[in-house]
């Protein structure tokens, strides 16, 4: 079993956490509360545009690797 436990020093909580696991939580979890400035970015939008960012980032990275 792979365990990615938070055993690091207190100054660096879960430093090794995988971005994909973090985004599972940050983009769909937490208290949803209206801010003053960004009221028109709905939850769905947030998840959608951020996933697009992820896919595009990965693609860029792959293309970059291929180019070398």
């Amino acid at each position: 079993m792979t365990v990615a436990l938070d055993t690091g020093p207190a100054a660096h909580p879960m430093e090794r956490v995988a971005l994909v696991d973090l985004l599972d939580r940050l983009l769909s979890g937490g208290v949803v509360i209206s801010g003053d400035l960004v009221i028109s970015i709905a939850d769905v939008d947030l998840v959608h545009i951020s996933l697009r960012a992820l896919i595009m980032g990965i693609r860029d990275e792959l293309l970059g690797e291929d180019g070398v």
């Binding site: 079993m1 990615a4 995988a18 599972d24 769909s28 979890g29 509360i33 960004v38 951020s50 992820l54």
Partner: protein, 278 residues
């Protein structure tokens, strides 16, 4: 917008000693401070509107490097607070005009935050993913061996018709086996979940991860978060380890402890004092 700055809210804690935050840096490397009101402590830092204003955010959220930096900073702050006091994270990119507005929100939503904090006090979120190894996911699929052709296939009568029929049968058989293997894996995933769920007070399913993002070989069978009483954490982890040991072909991956991102269920402000839905 004279000073062109705003306040980024990370989460809301109860009974947090502000010194516990130490020198943790927030988004854009800004120092984190506390705003107290309504018996709650909000974790905030100042941000620039040209980075965190609405228009800028829309563009920045599509920039992977920016998104990652913001997500990691958000997590660092919430994680630090959650180690020492019950903490309810808020959704990423929640921004207010100033500290007074944050204090207003704490007072206005104190009941809602209170419910959320009650739910997670003394509990921790753990992530569990289960992967079927490639050979397990392929189990039942023909791997080029002659056994893939069902014994029932009649010998070819004529060259053309026989080949076509055999081909179709083979395809059908492949599909049937693949579906069967998929069902078997789903059943095993369900059994794993049921066992872990027995050690937890709540569970939530996360969507399957794109393998390009997880960089993980194998088929993702389960992507779960469990909320576990702190007193039961050791047992929960040993159950996960035990499952991993006795299910060859399936890898169990545990992450955590997490702040309770996945267990903030209060979708709407409490409308009436009658709390019938819990």
């Amino acid at each position: 917008m004279t000073d062109a700055s705003a306040v980024y809210l990370y989460g809301v804690a109860r009974g947090l000693d502000p010194t516990a935050l130490g020198d943790v840096a927030g988004v854009a490397d800004a120092p984190v401070r506390c705003v107290e009101a309504g018996g709650l402590v909000a974790l905030v830092s100042s941000v620039r509107l040209d980075e965190y204003g609405e228009e800028a955010l829309r563009a920045n959220l599509e920039n992977l490097a920016w998104l990652e930096a913001t997500a990691r900073a958000h997590h660092a702050v919430v994680g630090r607070a959650a180690r020492t006091a019950p903490t309810a994270p808020v959704r990423i990119a929640t921004v207010y005009r100033d500290d007074d507005r944050v204090a207003q929100v704490l007072r206005r939503e104190s009941e809602r935050f209170g419910h959320a904090l009650d739910r997670v006090t003394g509990r921790t979120e753990w992530g569990v993913k289960a992967y079927a190894r490639a050979e397990e996911a392929r189990a039942g699929e023909p791997d080029g061996s002659a056994a893939a052709v069902p014994a029932a296939a009649p010998p070819a009568e004529t060259a053309a018709g026989g080949t076509g029929t055999a081909y179709l049968r083979r395809r059908q058989e492949q599909r049937r086996r693949r579906e069967e293997a998929g069902r078997r894996l789903a059943d095993r995933a369900q059994a794993i979940h049921a066992e872990l769920d027995g050690q937890a007070v709540a569970a939530r399913r996360h969507p399957p991860q794109d393998p390009r993002l997880s960089r993980r070989a194998g088929t993702l069978l389960l992507n779960m978060a469990y909320l576990v009483d702190d007193g039961d954490a050791e047992r929960f982890l040993s159950v996960a380890r035990e499952i991993d040991r006795r299910t060859p072909g399936i890898d169990v991956e545990v992450t955590g402890p997490w702040p309770p991102y996945s267990f903030i269920d209060v979708d709407e402000p409490s409308r009436s004092p009658g709390d019938g839905d819990r």
